[in-house]
Amino acid sequence: MATILEIKHVSKFFGGLAANSDVSFSLEEGMIMGMIGPNGAGKTTLFNCITGYYPPSRGEVIFKAQKISGLEPDRICRLGMVRTWQKVRPLAKLSVIDNVMVGALCRTNSLKTARELAMEQLKVVRMDNKPNFLAGGLPIGEQKKLEVARALATQPQLLLLDEVMGGLNPAESDEIIQLILEIKKGGGITQMVIEHDMKAIMRISDRIVVINSGEKLAEGTPQEIVNNPEVVRAYLGDFHA
């Protein structure tokens, strides 16, 4: 399998604080990479470095054999990498379909085509029954799904999901898990998922990378990760190890 994303020795400093230091790993096409780590470990910072919101202080990010660190987020999106947000960012005063259309317009100039693409994506997340609702008025579970639909509408090859199950009830989480697995089955889209729900991340991930205090602590299959004493120590403290 070909490598789609390569993170090479990425560090990000905020003043003297190292939010990420020397993180390296790579993603193969079509896989689901899980990313876990305690709060404040630097997972979202790493996402921001990958998607262009922060330029990495050191190191580089290679996407489809092209160096993308230093590019603006909109360029990176047009190259085929898109993210969702931990704290949802719906375009509140626009309707559901318009939100998704904004994503779809990344690949087309025609509103008609964009509307069709958007409707398809709404079907994927099972929200095609309420295209004309205002995005700002949706419950959190649907806003999260809307984010995924909007991101998918940009027709990415790599989808980065930042805590897409955060704040959802078990039924809603389960729906998102199904959705992530369906996207994988559909083929063509590699995914990287930040998640705190261990059961979920173990179930969906092909590989998992663990971030702690800004550094990569471990990487491996879900099985390897649960049996890794370092990881257990990071999560539960020395006493349990």
């Binding site: 909109d74 993210r83 005063k93 259309m101 994503g103 317009l105």
Partner: protein
């Protein structure tokens, strides 16, 4: 004309009544000067068109894109000064001067945009005010070009001819009425076209959430600059039109910060980010400011018998009410923001929806 039909049909939904009503209003506006000869009424209508053009233009950058520029007088002044300077010193007729004004406003907007769009939120607002003040001070001090604080007075407007036929000599207010009407219709039409295109979607995405928009492939500097440029073009047109219509400009009339605030008020009061909002805003504000200026309000108070013209309060009102327009505007804005956060248009819509339910 055909596109104007489409405009009305789309914004008013499919209702044939609304379409008919829209066409009737349009026909009424075109026939208006044949029935009403009063120069004062025509003057009010021209001010209404002017205000509509400005409001619609600001709406593109402020209402749709969410970048609250309070320096739009910069483009208004750019249009006014370019047209007047070319007409007065180079004998270039205003219809070409208008185009030159657009060019100047475009250049100014791109310079302002490339600098100020590095800033967000309130910092952008402040920067936009600063730029407008720079323009005003430049106009005062570049005496060789702008005639400084004395301003420019045009003695006569060249006669507009097509071939050898005289179309108009600009001696009455009627030609200005039609020019204002046409520019206003074009501005509304362009706003409608923007709203129903990729641009409109991208502008609104930037307004709603800049970071989310950025992550969806929208280049922020490019689209913000497009919005500002579009807005500057029509604001500049309104400036050229105003200058030629009034026949006199100076820095304190066409580069005054008050104008920027007026432009924003038209949108806020009418309904921000909607096609008809600025039209409604202009309908409210133009008569109001005229009523204040000409002491109509004081007279109305005397007529109701609340107080008499001779009493102490009456004398006070008569002397001061005309100067109190800033105060009354202020109260109006507070009332609108408190009770009609979506402007008059949003408020009316809400009322009709509630009635429909009840």
């Amino acid at each position: 004309m055909k596109s104007t039909f489409a405009l009305i049909r789309t914004t008013a939904g499919t209702s044939p009544v609304a379409t008919a009503l829209g066409l009737a209003v349009l026909a009424g506006l075109f026939l208006f000067p044949s029935f009403v000869q009063s120069p004062y009424t025509l003057h009010i209508m021209i001010l209404f068109f002017l205000s509509t053009i400005q409001g619609e233009a600001w709406n593109i950058i402020g209402g749709y894109t969410g970048q609250y520029s309070i320096g739009h007088v910069a483009y208004f002044g750019a249009g006014a000064y370019t047209t007047m300077i070319l007409m007065q010193y180079k004998q270039i007729p205003p219809w070409y001067g208008m185009l030159a004004g657009i060019g100047v406003a475009l250049v100014v907007s791109l310079i302002i945009g490339s600098i100020c769009f590095r800033l967000q939120g309130p910092y952008f607002v402040l920067a936009s005010i600063a730029v407008a003040e720079i323009m005003r001070l430049s106009a005062i001090n570049l005496k060789d070009i702008t005639n400084g604080a004395e301003g420019i007075l045009i003695t006569e407007i060249p006669v507009f001819k097509i071939g050898n036929t005289v179309v108009t000599d600009f001696l009455s207010k009627v030609p200005f009425y039609y020019i204002g009407l046409v520019i206003a219709l074009v501005t509304i039409l362009v706003t409608w076209m923007v709203q129903n295109s990729k641009l409109g979607y991208y502008f609104q995405a930037i307004r709603e959430d800049q970071d989310a928009a950025h992550s969806l492939g929208i280049s922020l500097p490019i689209y913000k600059n497009i919005a500002l440029a579009l807005s500057a073009v029509f604001t500049s047109l309104s400036g050229s039109f105003y200058a030629v219509y009034i026949g006199y400009i100076d820095p304190s009339t066409v580069l005054n910060l008050d104008i920027s605030v007026q432009i924003v008020l038209v949108c806020i009061i009418g309904g921000i980010g909607t096609i008809w909002g600025p039209v409604i805003g202009a309908m409210v504000l133009v008569p109001l400011s005229e009523a204040l200026r000409s002491d109509l309000i004081a007279e109305m108070i005397f007529k109701t018998g609340l107080t008499s013209e001779g009493s102490a309060i009456g004398t006070f009102l008569k002397e001061n009410l005309a100067h109190a327009h800033a105060l009354i505007y202020g109260i109006l804005v507070v009332v609108v923001i408190l009770f009609m956060p979506d402007g008059v248009l949003g408020w009316v819509k809400k009322l009709t929806v509630q009635k429909g339910r009840g």
